[in-house]
Symmetry: C2
Subunit: 437 residues, 2 copies
């Protein structure tokens, strides 16, 4: 497979080099943080008097974890490094569905660094300056649209800033300009497959090579399906506006996890209940520090996203660690007899057992002071005779595999296919009848 680098030296740097870069950049971020209302308050409390007080990762981990609520409480300028917007060239803000928006500020150097990183991401996904990039994401305050636009331009692709909507025009544009690369949501890409056929165009006549699919969580199965339908590569990306948007982590052409650019971010995976750092490989909350933004320093930001880090080396030669797909949100976390369990962990185990269908339910009840977990699964009819002995063996197998994964021994109930309710999301699969705490 062809592997291109945007900045080979940085992308293949060894751990010691990466960590040296991190600690050096951290000095500048701490320096900027002193100019913000939020950090100046916290630094005082923590007795941090100068950037030199944060010299090691151990020092770093004394800094407070920052939540979305902290950002909201600081609206609009609690995290702004400076008295005014004179050095700021860009403001983005979240749509603020829950009320107060969260705001991001960039100065010129911050924007420059963010743009460079997106160009690196796109290069990792195989894009070159000869590619035709049709940006089907919405522009505006959403960082994904303008972020990929800037990165693609930096890389030298021909950027078609078409934005979302108007499917017929999207399709005609793909055809007339030989678009090779889409930036699109997975659901719109799925819709596009039908629309292109209805428009009387054969997919083979298009020049599509790949799609950057983002802004919506989607499963590996959805990716595979989209790749098959279009005969293209689909690349997963991960970003959040608080962390400069789309440049945070991106899949390389090997598509086995998302390289998080550790020269520009410090990644931590923590136990969302205790805030303690987890070792690589364990699933927990993604906590990120942006090392590229001085107009608005933000360190140890709790993303509420759950993922784990891959520990093996990637075939592409990049040394930056890889994040798994986001497995869920901390908001979904269940605490069962003091143990953190995510519905997605249960789903993962179940899906690997061939005798089991894709439908399941999670029930939580209380027996005295003890939480009881019951997992109801549908058996996959074609693989199963209905012999009660076989059923018991399967039950034990599921129970045992769940215990190995979530450290809780659940009760397992098997059901015939079509008995359990079907849902789109994960949330509704959990029925918690333990009452108030």
């Amino acid at each position: 497979m062809q592997v291109n680098y945007w900045n080979k030296e940085i992308e293949t740097a060894d751990r010691a080099e990466i960590e040296a870069i991190q600690l050096e950049k951290l000095q500048h971020i701490i320096k900027a943080a002193f100019k913000t209302p939020f950090y100046s308050r916290h630094f005082k409390k923590l007795g941090i008097k100068s950037p030199r007080d944060i010299k090691t990762f151990e020092d770093f981990r004394k800094l407070p974890l920052v939540s979305k609520e902290d950002l909201r409480r600081g609206y609009p300028n609690g995290f702004l490094a400076g008295e005014n917007y004179d050095d700021v060239v860009r403001m983005h803000s979240s749509s603020g569905t829950t009320g107060i928006p969260t705001v991001i500020y960039w100065n010129r150097e911050d924007l420059e660094a963010a743009t460079d990183l997106v160009a690196r991401c796109l290069t990792a996904a195989g894009c070159t300056r000869s590619d035709i990039f049709q940006n089907m994401m919405s522009y505006g305050l959403f960082t994904g649209g303008l972020g990929l636009h800037y990165g693609a331009e930096r890389l030298g692709m021909m950027v078609i800033p078409i934005g979302g909507g108007n499917t017929i025009r999207q399709i005609n544009t793909m055809r007339d300009f030989g678009t090779t690369t889409l930036h699109i949501t997975p659901s719109y890409l799925m819709h596009l497959a039908t629309a292109i056929k209805e428009h009387g165009i054969a997919l083979e006549t298009l020049s599509l090579k790949r799609a950057i699919v983002g802004a919506e969580p989607h499963t590996e199965e959805t990716r595979r399906k989209l790749e098959e339908i279009f005969n293209i590569d689909c690349y997963n990306c991960y970003g959040l506006s608080e962390m400069n948007g789309p440049g945070l982590a991106f899949e390389c052409v090997y598509k086995n996890g998302l390289h998080i650019w550790e020269d520009s971010y410090i990644l931590e995976i923590i136990d969302p209940a205790t805030g303690e750092l987890l070792p690589d490989g364990e699933t927990g909350e993604v906590v990120v520090t942006c090392l590229n933004r001085r107009a608005m320093p933000l360190m140890r930001y709790r993303t509420r996203d759950l993922a784990h880090v891959y520990t093996d080396m990637c075939q592409c030669g990049r040394t930056h660690r890889r994040l798994s797909r986001i497995k869920g949100r901390t908001d979904d976390m269940l605490i069962i007899n003091g143990v953190n369990v995510f519905p997605s962990q249960i789903e993962e185990v179940i899906m690997k057992i061939p005798e089991v269908g894709t439908n399941y339910m999670i029930h939580l009840t209380k027996s005295g002071a003890i939480d009881r977990l019951t997992v109801k699964v549908e058996i996959y009819s074609k693989m199963f005779s209905g012999d009660p002995v076989e059923l018991d063996i399967l039950k034990d197998k599921i129970s045992e595999e769940l215990r190995a994964s979530i450290y809780i021994h659940p009760r397992v109930q098997l059901h015939e296919p079509g008995i359990l309710p079907t849902f789109e999301g994960k949330g509704k699969r959990v029925v918690d009848e333990r009452g108030e705490f």
Copy 2:
């Protein structure tokens, strides 16, 4: 008044320097044009073998005038300088309401030059890096949105890329971030005045200083009204995607015509019927050559817009000539006994006569081979007693002033206020009953 320059040397260069720059840049454009299907065909026909064959403005005027239809016929790559899109970093296209869109390509240097020019425009309108720029125009393939965005960023303003719509969010953003500069359509700005009041915000509490009003034709009266309501300055800008969008011509703080950047564009005003060059001061079709775009050279492009050039020097010290407001479209042009007449010329004359109201109609009839022009106007009741002698004097006055302006002696009919139909646009005020030609 405070006058700032973005590039003082260029902006205040004398005519000889400007023309030298034009001819020098033209060499590069001609060189690029040889690589396009359209121009290579035309150059062969005209016997142009090298850029050196176009050394003077006289040579230049031998080049063909190019129409929107030529662009459409060349869809998508008839004006692309090169075999592929490798050097192209941006494509824009018109919405193509009439069918085939028109397409614009920029290479990196083209985009750079276009961006620099928008920064120059914004500086001319008094913007500085301390300003907060809320871009309320739609992003995407429309060049106005991204064009102003890039220019404002280059200037170092804080750009809020909010795009169009969601008025409440727009207003909250203005309030919370102290927006000083809006980029907005005149009709949306008018709507905003009401919306802000309804939202319970006093206009004086906002930090607004100015608005760049574009994308819609509007009158001087509308501008004055908006300036009064908001107590801000409104700046008119002129651009079209075929000419790189918004950087073409912009008002300076003196607001007496739009400086067209002649180091980057060659401006001609032609008689739309004959194609002949008109002297400065006469109204005709705006024809523009872009000197900043090599990925897609476009020379002597007929904009179909009607305007004239101001001949007096501007107080700001800029030497680049000023374009009047666009007075209409060549599509509106009437040919009366062989003379080109624009309804806007008639409107202009009528509006200057205090005894006349704002409502009028233009009737064209045939008397044998001769065209007859009748102008029906409503008199302004408050200024008029109804004395028949006075009415005749007024009639003659209107007729004489129209003749002096359009070189045709019209019949004038006076009407009481409220008699003539009222319209929003100009087109319907013309009733042409001369039949088919």
